[in-house]
């Protein structure tokens, strides 16, 4: 559970010199995912931090094709790419809609629901830095309760949208959460998803030093704390029914995670207690879902 990215097998398909900030979690998501996918992949990239990270025309920081597209169209454009490839006889290439939390939870949500309902053969990666970071830290529906952003100058009221369950409710073959801080788990999930046909969705937490207000050498640590505190549990859901926890580290208090970030500095002890209660509730519900999950079908084992 504590491997580092450089220990992983697989070709390095992200070139040095991308335009990510120091300590950027989103850049590590791309490095890890492409180690799992390999070169026969096409990335469909809507407006997000990665629009900048990938480099301006005529550069590309990534050694697979990238099709840049409009903000709300990661899923829909990718659906067309897949159909076009199939029409020309290519059924092998993995098509990857690659969006941030804004492009997934908010503006791209309708198109995402559409491809999920159609079960299009795509592997969707949402790298979640919990706000519109590229435009300068505005709240999204992935921003957690209590977080400062430039559009929630006191703190955000209301819980983060539970995208895992929303996608699971579409009964697609594979939904998972993963973290840049556990690259072995992330890459294993990517490889597993790559082998499945139909719509697959991996939600990866990507800590953001400027947006979350922590020091850039702390990215991996913050990612681990999110998992340890159960704020971001690592889980898989197959066919909308079978919930399965990934190996989880020992549980730690949420307050420790919140206090490590400047964006939560307005929270008092009582507010942190309420957040702890909410996280506990979600964690218990998840454990129950795992408990009552049917065993995987024989063909899956």
């Amino acid at each position: 559970m504590n491997s580092v990215l450089t220990d992983l097998d697989g070709a390095e398909l992200v070139h040095p010199g991308h335009l990510g900030c120091q300590g950027c979690g989103a850049s590590l998501v791309m490095k890890s995912v492409l180690k799992g996918l390999g070169k026969d992949s096409i990335i469909v990239l809507p407006a997000c931090c990665w629009t900048v990270l990938a480099g301006p025309f005529p550069n590309s920081a990534v050694d697979v094709p990238i099709l840049h597209t409009a903000f709300e169209t990661a899923a829909s454009t990718a659906s067309g790419v897949k159909a076009g490839l199939e029409a020309l006889g290519d059924t092998k290439t993995t098509v990857v809609p690659w969006a941030g939390d804004g492009g997934t939870f908010d503006i791209g949500f309708q198109a995402l629901s559409g491809v999920a309902e159609r079960n299009d053969d795509l592997l969707y990666i949402c790298y979640d830095n919990e706000a519109y970071m590229n435009t300068g830290i505005q709240q999204s529906s992935a921003t957690p309760h209590g977080a400062w952003t430039t559009t929630t100058p006191k703190s955000k009221k209301g819980n983060k949208k539970d995208i895992l369950r929303v996608l699971a409710a579409h009964q697609i073959p594979y939904v998972a959460t993963a973290s840049v801080s556990y690259p072995d788990d992330l890459v294993a999930k990517v490889k597993k998803a790559k082998a499945i046909k139909g719509f697959r969705f991996i939600h990866v937490l990507a800590p953001c030093p400027p947006g979350w207000k922590f020091s850039s050498e702390m990215t991996i640590k913050l990612g681990r704390m999110a998992v340890q505190s159960r704020v971001f549990p690592l889980v898989e859901v197959e066919n909308g029914r079978t919930y399965k926890l990934s190996p989880m580290p020992d549980k730690t208090p949420v307050a420790k995670y919140l206090r490590a970030q400047g964006r939560f500095k307005s929270l008092d002890r009582q507010a942190m207690k309420e957040i702890q209660a909410e996280i506990d509730y979600r964690w218990e519900t998840l454990l129950q879902d795992c408990e009552r999950s049917p065993a995987p079908a024989p063909s899956d084992t």
Partner: protein
């Protein structure tokens, strides 16, 4: 159905079904569409063709028109021949991706069934939906008959794939979309000869990874825009070539504009779409009664056929433009375009008549009234004259 000497078969079909047949016979590979009245029959028949296996295409049943266009941008970038159809609110919803498709140089073909925009709700025809997309970079054809609709789909692919600019072909709601007319369907081999498979020189390729449409700084952006404008300029020649070659294979030709009648009329009536057919009848009738009136049908609106318009208007006494649209705060949109084309070249009155919005019928008497007003009116103040509006 009747078999013709040239190997074609004449069937009686609606404008919507003329689109579906042409899209099938163009061997379109990816269709993505969302239903909207009055376009639905286009996609219903295409769905049937795909499900029956007589059309080898992927049909993506999308959840919105915005997604239709986004999906086709993806499919076209992967190298496939693509199609969608929409109307009115659906076209408006696509607007962002229309710009994107043109900027990305995806040769997508789309049929837009002209329908008025809300509010208030209307399902009937006028041209404000397609004309609102004037500056998106798309080529636009306006069709008069179901045969022209069928033929224009084939020409549209020829042109789009040659200049790498998307093409929208436009027809009136119900007047054409739901009206059956005889349409000659050519033999498939002839169509295959006219329209070879789409082989783009650049497409998404995992063996040659590249990034497409990424951030273009001020050092680059303007050159992309200039190239799109250059492609629209080139399209003026390519559209004519595609039409000429079409004539040599299929024996039918339409032009970018069509002058019907005298080259030096007292009044030149300008129309587009189905109104043209009605206008032909009225002009024949009036000329038989001793008048000297001609008709100019505008078939291609983008790129605007400025030189053909100047030529047709050069010896006319007055120009009366029938606009089934309104550019709020200015007037009839075709009239504005024609004034711009003539300015500094041809010194002639251009009168703008607004009629038939939201599907109000433009009958022979509507056109007679316009011609009668044009005959007596002697003003060139740029204002539009509304025809048939209730007090």
């Amino acid at each position: 159905m009747s078999k013709n000497k040239d190997g074609s078969e004449t069937i009686v079909i609606t404008g919507n079904h003329a689109v579906s047949y042409a899209v099938k016979m163009a061997r379109t590979q990816v269709v993505a569409a969302y239903p909207i009245t009055p376009q639905t029959q286009v996609v219903e028949l295409l769905s049937k063709f795909c499900e029956d296996g007589i059309m080898d295409a992927r049909f993506i049943k999308v959840e919105s028109e915005h997604t239709s266009m986004a999906s086709l941008i993806g499919a076209s970038s992967a190298g496939a021949r693509t199609f969608t159809a929409t109307s009115s609110q659906g076209l408006a919803l696509m607007h962002e991706m229309l710009h994107w498709a043109a900027g990305a140089r995806n040769p997508i073909v789309m049929a837009n069934i002209n329908r008025a925009l809300g509010a208030p709700w209307s399902i009937w025809t006028d041209q404000n939906d397609s004309l609102s997309q004037r500056d998106t970079g798309w080529i636009q054809y306006y069709c008069e008959s179901n045969q022209e609709v069928f033929d224009t789909v084939l020409q549209a692919y020829r042109v789009a794939e040659k200049v790498l600019v998307p093409v929208m072909l436009v027809m009136d709601a119900f007047v054409l979309s739901h009206t059956a007319e005889p349409v000659a369907i050519p033999a498939q081999e002839k169509i295959d000869g006219y329209l070879p498979p789409f082989k783009p020189s650049i497409k998404l390729d995992t063996n040659a990874p590249a990034a497409y449409h990424g951030l273009a700084t001020p050092d680059f952006y303007m050159e992309f825009r200039k190239k799109l404008q250059d492609a629209q300029d080139k399209a003026k020649t390519v559209i004519t070539q595609a039409d000429d070659e079409f004539a040599s294979v299929f024996g039918r030709k339409y032009g970018q504009v069509e002058l019907y009648g005298s080259e030096n009329p007292d009044i030149l009536l300008v129309t587009s779409g189905t109104v043209t057919g009605t206008a032909r009848e009225v002009i024949d009738e009036q000329n038989a009664a001793g008048k000297n009136i001609a008709l100019l049908k505008i078939r291609v609106f983008r790129p605007f056929p400025s030189s053909q318009v100047r030529e047709a208007c050069a010896r006319a006494g007055k120009i009366a433009v029938l606009d089934r649209n309104i550019g709020f705060g200015v007037g009839g949109i075709f009239a504005q375009e024609i004034r711009a084309a003539l300015y500094g070249h041809v010194d002639v009155q251009v009168q703008s008549y607004i009629a038939g919005l939201g599907g109000r019928d433009i009958t022979p008497s509507t056109i007679r009234e316009i011609l009668s007003q044009a005959e007596t009116r002697d003003e060139n103040n740029g204002e539009s004259i509304w025809v048939g509006v209730k007090e």
